[in-house]
Symmetry: D2
Subunit: 349 residues, 4 copies
C-alpha cells in the first residue's frame, strides 16, 4: 500500500544486472567509455534524432536546471506551469544554474498550461524593455504534476507560441514514459515533431536507481552543456554505471513496459476508488498518479492502517473529520497487483 | 596495464551486492530511509564524531564545491595548493557554488602546501580592506595530487594558521583512505583532531560506483548544506542506493583493505621502476600514485604496447625522443598483482 | 506638461550648489571623507537611529538589490507586492545580487499588499521542506507603485507577520519623502518603529542627481554590506559628490519641502481631473502620482498636444477610440504651478 | 602635498558647469536624452568608430566587470596582469558579474604582461578539456598599475596572441588619457587598431565626478550589455548628469589637457626626486604616477609633515628606520605646480 512516490520503490532487476555486467575491467572515465557511446546512440535511435546531443545526469533536477541554463539567459524569465516541479520542488535550482533567471508561473488547471494564459504571459514579458527581464524558455511537464498528459495538438500549440517569439522549449519528462504510453505515440512525435528543443528524459521514477538523460535536438549547445554539467559537479567519473542503467532501461522496451504497468495500476486504482461512495476522483487519470478526495476521518483510518500517500491540500489535524482532503496516490512499476485492491478494501465506506 | 586513473576500474563486488540487498521494497526518498540513517551513524562512529552532520553526494566535485560554499562567502578567497583538483579539475565548480569566490593558489611542491607560502598568502589576503576579497577557507588535499601525504604535524601546523585567523579548513579526501593507510592513524586524528572542520570523504576512487560523503564536525551549518545540496541538484531521490554503497564500503574495513591493496601496488610499481636504469621516481610514493620520468621513446613504446597512463608534462609528439617525460601511474584497488610486473617488463631498457 | 516620471525633471539648485562647495581640495576616496561622515550622522539623526549603518549608492535598484542580498539568502524567496519595482523594473537585479533568490508576488490591490494574501504566501512558503525555497525577506514599497501609502498600522501589521516568522523587512523608499508627507509622521515612525529592518531611502526622484541611502537599523551586517557594495561596483571613489547631494537634501528640510510640492501638484491635478466629465481617478491620490482613465481618443489628442505621460494598461493603437485607458501622471518637485492647469485645459471634453 | 590618489582631487570646474547647464527642463530618463545621444556620437568620433556601442556607468569597477561579463563566460578564465585592478581592487566584481569566472594572473613586471608569460598561460589554459575552465578574455591595463604604458607594438603583440585563439581583448583604461598622452597616438591606434575589442574609458581619475564609458567596437553585444548594466543596477535614471560630465570632458580636448598636466607633474616630481641622494625611482615614469623608494625614517618625517601618499611594500612600523620602502605618488590634474617642489624640499636628505 505504498503510494507515496514513484521514487520509493525498487529499481528493476534488469537494471541491477546491467550494473553487474558493466562492472568488468577498465574503461575511461567521464563518459569516454563504450557503454556511454552505445546509450547515446540508442537514445538517438529511440528519438529518431541522429544528430541529437545526449547527456546523462544523476537527478531530474540536474537535468532540468542544466537544460534551462543552456536554453536561457540570466536576464530572462522561464515560463512554467503553476505548481511545476522546477518552481516548487527544486529549491531554486533553475535560478541557481541559470545565474538568477526568473520563473513566470502560468495558470495551469489540472497541471496543463492554458494557451490563453501563456499568450498573456508572453505578451506581458516583453513590455518593459531593458527594465524588465526578457522572455526566455518555455518549459512544459509531460506527464504533468497532476498526472495529466498534453495531447500532441496541445503541445504543438504551446510550442508554436514560444517559437513564434524565438523562444526555445524544454520538456520536463520525469514521467516521459508514462505520458508516452498514454498517448501511444512515438518519442519523436511527443518531442521534436511537436516543437520541443530539449528534453529531460526521466528514468529514475520508472525503474532506475538514478539516471536521467538530457537531449538537445540541435547539438549547437553541446559543448556549453558539457562545461555546465562539469561545473555543476554533475559529470560522473565512473560514467559507465549511469550508461548501463539507461541502456538496460531502453532495451527490449523495458521502459515502456514499466510505464504501462504503472499506468495500469493507477487506472485500476481509479476505477476501484470510483466505486467507493464518498470518493471523488479529482483529475483525469492518464498516467500513474491518482488525485482523489475523501473525508479526513477516512484518511486517518487508512494511514493508520499502513497506507502511504501524501495529503495534497491539508493535514490530518487541520480541521473537521468529515471535511474532504485530496490525496495524491502514485503507482510505481513495482506495485504488486493486489496492493490496489487491498488498499481500496480498507476504506471505511 | 591500466594506470590511467583510479576511476577506471570496477566497483568492488561487495558494493554491488549491497545495492542488490538495498533493492527491496519501499522506502522514503531523499535520505529519509533506514539505510541512510545507518550510514550516517556509521560514519560518525568511524570518525569518533557523534554530532557530525553527514551527507552523501554523487561526485567528488560536488562534495568539495558544496562544502566550500558552506564554509566560505562569495567575497572571499579559498586558499588551495597549486594544482589542486578544486582549481584545475572542477571547471570552476567552487566558483559556481560559492557565488564567485576566488581561489588563491599557494605554492605546494610535491602537492603539499608550504607553510611559509600559506603564511604569505594569508598575510597578503587581508591587506586591501574593502577593495580586496577577504580571506576565506583553507582547503587541503589528503592524499595530494602528487600522491604524497601530509603528516599529522604538517596538517596541524597549516590548520592552526588558518584557525588563528578565524578561517575554516576543508579537507579534500578523494583519496582519504589511501592517505590514512599511509599514516596508520585514525580518521579522527587525520581530521578534526588535526584542526579540520569539514571533509570530502571519498569513496568513488576506492571501489564505489559513485558516492562521496561530506562531513561537518560542527553541525551548525547542516540545514544550509541540505538546502545548497538540493539547490545544486545533488539530493538523490532514491537515496538508499548511495547509502548502500557507502555502508558496504565501511563495513568490515573494506575501504581500508582496498586502499591498502592500491597503495601496495603502487609501492611495488615504484620499487620495480626504481630498478630500471633511466627511470626516475619523481615524488615520494606514499599512496596509490607513482610519478616517474623516462625518455619519450619509451613512452611511445609502452603506450603502443597497450599500457594506459597519462603523460603529465608533455606530449608524445612534443620534442626529441630521448627527452624525459613524466608519467602519472595510478593503481586502483582492483589492479591484478601481475599487472605491475608485466608493465615494467615491457620497458625497452 | 511633463508627467512621465519624477526622474525627468532637474535636480534642485541647492544640490548643485552643494556639489560646487564640495569640489574643493583633496579628500580621501571611497567614503572616508568628512562630508560622508557628516551625512551618515545626519541620517542617523533624521531617523533617530544613532547606531544605524548608513550607506550611499547611485541608483534605487542598487539600494534595493544590495539591501535584499544582505537580508536574504540565495535559497529563499523575497515577498513583494505584485507590480513591485523589484519585480518588474529592475531586470532581475534582486535575483542577481542575492545569488538567485526567488520573488514571491503577493496580491496588492492599489499597490498595497493585502495582509491575508501575505499570510497565505508565508504559510505556503515553508511547506515543502528542503525541496522548496525558504521564506525570506519581506519588502514593502512606500509610497507604492500606485501612489498610495500604507498607514502606520498597516505597516505594523505586515511587518509583524514577517517578524513572527523571523523574517526581516525591507522598505523600498524610492518615494519615501512623498509618503512621509502624506502620513505626517516621523521617519522613525514610518520605519523602525513600524517594524522595518532596512530602508532604501530615495533621493533621486525628489531632487537629487542620483543618490539613494541604504539604512540598516541593526548594524550587524554593515561589513557584509560594504563588501557587497564594492563587489557590486557601487562604491564610488569620489564619494564626496554623493554625500554632498544627500546632505543638501536633508538640510533645512529641503527633502520634505520638495515632496510637499510634488504631492500638492498631484493633488491639484487630481482635483482638476475630477472636474472633467469622462475622467475617472483610479486610485486614492496620496503622493505625487495620479492614475486616471479616459478615452483613447483624448489620450491621442493630449499626447499630440505635447503632454508627456505613460499609458499604463494599453496603447494608442490597441483598440477603439472611445475605450478608456489608464494614464500614470507623475508630478515632480519642479513642476511649474501652471502646468497642471494648462494640461487639464487641453482636455477635449 | 596630496599624492595619495587621483580620486582625491576635485572635478574640473568645466565639468560642474556642464552639470549646471544640463540641469534644465525635462528629458527622458535612462539614457534616452539628447545629451546622451550627443556624447555617444562624440565618443564614436574620438575613437573613429562610427558603429561602436557606447555606454556610461558610474565607476571603473562597473565598467570593467560589466565589459568582462559580456566578453566572457562563467566557465572561462580571464587573463590579467598580476596586481591588476580587476584582481586586487574590485573585491571580486569580475567574478560576481561574470557568474564565477576565474582570473588567471600573468607575470607582469612593472605592470606590463610579459608576452612569454601570456603565451604560457594561454597554452596551459586549454589543456584539461572539460575538466578545466576554458580560456576567456584577455584584459590589459593602459596605463598600468605601475604607471607604465604598453607601446602600440606591445599591445599589438599581446592582442594578437589572444585573437589567434579566438579570445576577445578588453582594455582597462582607468588612466586611458594619461597613457595616450605618453604615446602621443590616437585613441583608435591605442585600441581597435591595436586589436582591442572593448574599452573601459576612464574619466573619474582625470577630472570628472564619477563617469566611465564602456566602448564595444563591435556592437553585436550591445543589447546584452544594456540588460547586464540594468540588472547590475548601473543604469542611472537621470542619465543626463553622466552624459554632461563626459561631454564636457571630451570637448576642446579637456581630457587630454588634464592628463598632460598630471603627467607633467609626475615628470617634474620624478626629476626632482632623482636629484635627492638616497631616493630611487623604481619604474619608468610615463604617466601620472611615480613609484620611488627611500628610507623608512624619511617617510615618517614626510608623512608627519603633512604629505599624503601610500607606502606600497611595507608599513611605518614594520622594520628598521633605514630600510628603504616604496612609495606610490600619484599626481592628479589639479595638483598645484608648487606642490611638487614643496614636497621634495621637505626631504631630510
Amino acid at each position: 500500500m505504498y503510494f507515496a512516490s514513484d521514487n520509493a520503490g525498487p529499481a528493476h532487476p534488469a537494471v541491477l544486472e546491467a550494473l553487474g555486467r558493466a562492472n568488468e575491467g577498465y574503461v575511461s572515465g567521464y563518459g569516454a567509455d563504450p557503454l556511454t557511446a552505445q546509450v547515446v546512440e540508442t537514445i538517438r535511435q529511440v528519438f529518431e534524432a541522429p544528430d541529437a546531443a545526449v547527456y546523462l545526469v544523476g537527478t531530474g533536477t540536474a537535468a532540468n536546471a542544466l537544460a534551462l541554463s543552456v536554453l536561457g539567459q540570466p536576464w530572462q524569465t522561464v515560463f512554467c506551469a503553476e505548481a511545476a516541479h522546477v518552481d516548487e520542488d527544486e529549491c531554486g535550482a533553475p535560478e541557481f544554474f541559470t545565474g538568477g533567471a526568473k520563473l513566470t508561473l502560468v495558470d495551469a488547471p489540472r497541471g496543463k498550461i492554458r494557451s490563453e494564459a501563456l499568450a498573456a504571459a508572453l505578451e506581458k514579458a516583453g513590455k518593459r524593455g531593458v527594465h524588465g527581464v526578457q522572455p526566455g524558455p518555455l518549459t512544459l511537464t509531460q506527464a504533468t504534476e497532476s498526472g495529466t498528459v498534453y495531447t500532441l495538438a496541445e503541445l504543438a500549440e504551446l510550442t508554436a507560441m514560444a517559437r513564434a517569439r524565438g523562444l526555445p522549449v524544454h520538456l520536463d519528462g520525469a514521467r516521459f514514459a508514462n505520458a508516452l504510453e498514454h498517448l501511444g505515440c512515438t518519442p519523436a512525435e511527443m518531442t521534436w515533431k511537436a516543437g520541443i528543443h530539449a528534453v529531460s528524459f526521466g528514468g529514475t521514477k520508472n525503474g532506475l536507481l538514478g539516471v536521467e538523460a538530457v537531449i538537445f535536438f540541435d547539438p549547437a549547445h553541446a559543448w556549453e552543456f558539457e562545461l555546465r554539467r562539469k561545473r555543476g559537479a554533475h559529470l560522473f567519473s565512473k560514467h559507465r554505471y549511469l550508461a548501463a542503467q539507461m541502456q538496460a532501461y531502453l532495451e527490449d522496451d523495458l521502459w515502456r513496459d514499466l510505464a504501462r504497468r504503472a499506468n495500469a495500476s493507477a487506472r485500476d486504482l481509479a476505477d476501484r476508488l470510483h466505486q467507493v461512495p464518498g470518493v471523488e476522483i479529482c483529475f483525469p487519470v492518464q498516467t500513474n498518479t491518482v488525485f482523489a478526495r475523501w473525508p479526513r476521518a477516512w484518511h486517518r483510518h487508512l494511514l493508520n492502517a499502513g497506507a502511504h500517500y501524501y495529503l495534497w491540500d491539508g493535514t490530518l489535524d487541520g480541521g473537521p473529520e468529515d471535511a474532504p482532503l485530496m490525496a495524491r496516490l502514485v503507482c510505481d512499476w513495482s506495485l504488486p497487483p493486489e496492493a490496489v485492491a487491498t488498499f481500496v478494501s480498507q476504506f471505511p465506506a
